[in-house]
């Protein structure tokens, strides 16, 4: 299976703290994407990082990619209660396969 694995499955932090979520995958990728899903809603795209990139930023989000370790991390700095959601990584593997989603990390930010 090409399915990625997020770690941890659940994370609970205080508002203002940083949250780090990790994603590991098994086979070579073209790109890796992070999505957020609020409870009862659809997924919202956050960042796409290509296999030849090592780091990308978007506002309070920072994504890193280590293709040698087949892993990525999503860092949310200065978290807010509104960041409470599930976060999914999704990978497009070599050969332009369909997006393969991981099982997600449930983040709870406590005010």
């Amino acid at each position: 299976s090409q399915q990625g694995e997020e770690d941890p499955q659940a994370l609970s932090i205080q508002e203002g703290e940083n949250a780090t979520m990790n994603c590991s995958y098994k086979t070579s990728i073209n790109n890796l994407q992070w999505y957020r899903q609020n409870s009862g809603r659809g997924l919202v795209h956050l960042i796409l990082i290509r296999s030849n990139e090592r780091e990308k930023h978007s506002g309070r989000l920072r994504v890193t990619l280590d293709t040698s370790k087949k892993s990525s991390s999503l860092l949310i700095t200065a978290s807010r209660a509104a960041d409470t959601a599930s976060y999914f990584c999704a990978t497009v593997h070599t050969g332009n396969t369909p997006l393969v989603f991981g099982k997600g990390t449930r983040l709870s930010v406590i005010a």
Binding site: H45, T97, L99
Partner: protein, 115 residues
């Protein structure tokens, strides 16, 4: 303006019935998708259409039949519903120029419950 919309939002039905879910995107994208999210939040692609042409069918039972009347619409018809079909179904679209599987824009989901 809703970029990707789905109807209905909730669908409760009896086993054995036939039902349809509609999806429309106003983003001008060429590629549309159907995903299924189970009770454990695992999201899996079912179908992908590019310019009304089926390009991905991920071993979905043939009780599920997608139909794309034009590139802005991708509907999902399900025959003979089974208990295991209960899930949240998401429609999504992406821009061909961002790569076939680039950034995806998701609809709000249709929560299907089969009794």
């Amino acid at each position: 303006d809703t970029a990707v919309s789905q109807t209905p939002k909730y669908l409760v039905t009896q086993m054995g019935n036939d039902k349809s879910i509609k999806c429309e995107q106003n983003l001008g994208h060429d590629t549309m998708y159907w995903y299924k999210q189970d009770s454990k939040k695992f999201l899996k692609i079912m179908f992908s259409y590019n310019n009304k042409e089926l390009i991905i069918n991920e071993t979905v039972p043939n009780r599920f039949s997608p139909k794309s009347p034009d590139k802005a619409h991708l509907n999902l018809h399900i025959n003979s519903l089974e208990l295991g079909d209960s899930a949240v179904y998401f429609c999504a679209s992406s821009q061909a120029t961002s790569g076939r599987f680039g950034t995806q824009y998701f609809g709000p989901g249709t929560r299907l419950l089969v009794l």
